[in-house]
């Protein structure tokens, strides 16, 4: 026997996964999470239908975005297909006062936070670098430099501590941060440093990884040989792995984690096992690195299908509702389509609007220079014709 200890006698490659809904929709009871869901009224049939509708809507928006990209309306699209439960669940698990810190593929989270999908598309169209007011919608901008947002989340949580809105016992007051990042991003040093800071200051932050099995072409096994959920335990940050295609497990676990953080018990880490059903982005060709069989396998675990089956088992869904959802989703897609097609390109002079909050002579001068330069052509045009 070796003197060197691992998480569990010898390297732990097994990690239990919390699941409330089986692939066929069957509900498994779960003592702690059922209590959490019940207390927060998060699993009523009406709610469940709501989640179903949300997932259908966001999937339709996502598919429409892909087709808008094909039409040249977007420069790129990063599809979240297959991650709807992982995202809608996490989004709804947060309370309004919580602050969410997403990466760039959190369309379901954004939807649950009330961010209109076209605001996401703006970024991929290339008219803006981030389309909403983070403080108004309590959602950080989409972040592209992987891992960079994680310390922001911890810092925001440290601000909450200083504001006295942690551990007061008042549900409307107590606030936490949900920090999202992918399995690939988990390797960035800044994510590890975030664990260090969060643990050290016992900041009210929940780290949430959607382990969708891939970081572009690289499987999660390259980032970690053991289940990612274990990563944070080296900092004494408790963690759990949940089935990310099971909206109830996600909801329960993330809500429970946020409750714990809000109560002042420090950070928690949740790994959500899911699957990126589409290619990495519209620029990617997943067939170059992953077998169709794997995609097939996960198609059968489709999170929307699963919730629908569950609702069917409960007798809480009918054809009419399903059809209405599909219709609304279609309408949403059409709206998106028209909104984006009708979107005019911004006047480039706006690039000079916000590099600084306060006046800056170089920027001002360059702006003038730019305007004078552009005016030349207008003069020419007027003069010439």
């Amino acid at each position: 026997m070796s003197i060197f200890r691992s998480t569990i006698p010898d390297v732990a490659t097994e990690e239990p996964m919390v699941q409330l809904l089986g692939p066929d929709g069957t509900r498994t009871p779960h003592e702690q999470l059922d209590a959490v869901l019940e207390e927060a009224d998060l699993a009523t049939p009406e709610r469940l239908r709501g989640y179903y509708r949300d997932m259908v809507m966001i999937r339709a928006a996502d598919l429409e975005a892909t087709s808008l990209q094909r039409q040249g309306q977007l420069g790129l699209w990063a599809s979240a297909l297959g991650q709807e439960a992982a995202q809608i669940g996490a989004g709804h698990a947060s309370r309004e006062q919580d602050y969410l810190v997403p990466t760039y593929r959190e369309h379901g989270v954004a939807w649950a936070r009330g961010i209109e999908p076209w605001r996401l598309l703006e970024m991929f169209r290339g008219v803006s670098h981030g389309g909403w007011d983070p403080n108004e919608l309590r959602t950080h901008p989409y972040m592209i430099v992987l891992g960079s947002q994680a310390p922001h989340a911890v810092g925001y949580a440290m601000g909450l501590q200083r504001d006295g809105v942690v551990g007061t016992g008042d549900a409307e007051t107590d606030t936490a941060v949900l920090a999202l990042f992918g399995d690939g991003a988990s390797s960035e040093g800044e994510v590890s440093e975030s664990f260090t800071f969060a643990a050290s200051f016992q900041a009210p932050v929940v780290f949430y990884t959607q382990n969708n099995q891939w970081a572009i072409s690289v499987p999660t096994s390259v980032q970690s040989r053991v289940p990612l959920a274990q990563r944070s335990r080296g900092w004494g940050i408790p963690s759990v792995r949940v089935d990310g295609n099971d909206v109830l497990a996600v909801l329960g676990a993330v809500r429970s984690a946020l409750d714990s953080a809000r109560a002042g018990k420090g950070p928690v880490f949740v790994e959500s096992l899911t699957y990126r059903m589409a290619a990495h982005t519209t620029s990617d060709d997943a067939s170059r690195y992953r077998p169709a069989a794997e995609e097939q396998e996960w198609a059968e675990r489709d999170p929307i299908l699963r919730l629908r089956r569950h609702l069917e088992q409960l007798g809480e869904i009918d054809e009419a509702f399903v059809a209405r959802c599909d219709e609304e989703a279609h309408d949403l897609a059409m709206q998106l389509h028209h909104h984006i097609h009708g979107m005019e390109d911004p006047d480039p002079v706006h690039m000079f609007d916000h590099p600084y909050a306060e006046p800056h002579p170089i920027v001002d001068a360059e702006r003038e220079e730019y305007l004078a330069y552009v005016a030349q052509f207008e003069d020419e045009e007027e003069g010439g014709r």
Binding site: W132, D133, S148, P151, Y156, E193, P355, A357, P361, I362
Partner: protein
């Protein structure tokens, strides 16, 4: 209790301490973060006493990770705080470079102006203290090129106090380059009267007619001394303290050069690709018909900062500055 009293004499380090203390007293959203800034008061003692005065929620000894320090400060700023971060030495800012370049500098722009980044990154900077590797760097060039950042480089106690206050009040992120080898040089500070000169303006600190010498931060005493030495030889130098390195105050510099016809720029950073190059390029353009000599530069060589026993040869000194002046006047 504020330390603000009428004009007083303080070393630069203590003027910064006073600036921090007064800023913290004036606005309880101001907080300090960094390595060893708490009970120890920082390795240069700039935060000395502040931990005892304001407690560990406002003077935060962080884990040892610069990206984490700057990154959490970004989050605090989004939440409405005004974090002042200390990087222990210039050479240790690089682990935070991603946060500074892709996050601090860009967050305001990214959010279309909806989120401000009133964040200050204090960096003891420059060489000449006989230190080991990585403790004598002059990284201003990297930040000056990065849109979204501002840089202040105080050279006097008075500027040190007020620039600390003004950097903290700025809604934009500010890199404060503190002239570490001058930390204990004393000077007058008037904490009661806000300076009329904006922190973003350069100051003509010695009027002259034969040539302009521009420098900042740790090099200011050197160029002033050089001007005295030159005066003894009958050469009348105008000396400008750039004060702000981002943005650089070009009107003040160009105005001077139009009068003197000559410009020498002195800094510790490597000349090659250093900030002096940008200034030389702009002034050469703006003053093309006034320049009687090319803009010259005296600074570090294109080498890693050398071991301490050789640094005197790497750094600009009186003779090298005067040599530069001579070459300038030869034209």
């Amino acid at each position: 209790m504020s330390t603000s009293t009428a004009t007083t004499t303080l070393p630069i380090a203590k003027a910064i301490t006073a600036g921090l203390r007064d800023a913290m007293t004036a606005d309880d959203k101001v907080l300090l973060m960094g390595e060893d800034i708490g009970p120890l008061g920082g390795v240069f003692r700039v935060t000395d006493g502040l931990h005892a005065e304001f407690g560990s929620q406002r003077v935060v000894d962080t884990p040892l990770a610069e990206a984490g320090i700057v990154g959490t400060a970004v989050g605090l700023a989004v939440r409405g705080y005004r974090p002042v971060v200390e990087i222990q030495f210039d050479g240790f800012v690089f682990p935070a470079f991603n946060q500074i370049t892709t996050q601090v500098a860009k967050m305001h722009n990214r959010t279309s102006g909806r989120v401000n980044m009133p964040l200050v990154i204090r960096i003891p900077h420059g060489g000449g203290i006989g230190a080991v590797e990585h403790h004598s760097e002059s990284p201003e060039t990297y930040f000056a090129h990065t849109a979204g950042l501002r840089i202040l480089a105080p050279a006097t106690s008075h500027d040190a106090y007020w620039m600390t206050r003004q950097a903290i009040e700025s809604e934009d992120p500010v890199i404060m380059l503190e002239p570490k080898r001058r930390y204990w040089v004393k000077g007058d500070v008037d904490m009661d009267h806000r300076p009329e000169l904006s922190p973003w303006q350069a100051a003509v600190v010695r009027p002259g007619t034969d040539a302009t010498v521009l420098a900042w931060g740790p090099s200011m005493p050197l160029v002033l001394e050089s001007a005295e030495a030159a005066a003894a030889e009958g050469i009348d130098l105008e000396v400008i303290d750039a004060r702000s390195l981002a943005p650089v105050d070009y009107p003040t510099i160009a105005d001077s050069v139009r009068r003197t016809g000559r410009l020498l720029i002195v800094h510790e950073a490597s000349v090659l690709g250093g900030l002096g190059g940008e200034i030389a390029a702009r002034i050469s353009e703006q003053c093309f018909y006034h320049l009687e000599a090319p803009v010259l530069r005296v600074g570090g060589y294109h080498l890693p900062y050398p071991p301490a026993r050789m640094e005197h040869a790497f750094l600009p000194d009186l003779d090298r500055v005067l040599d530069g002046v001579d070459r300038l006047l030869e034209h």
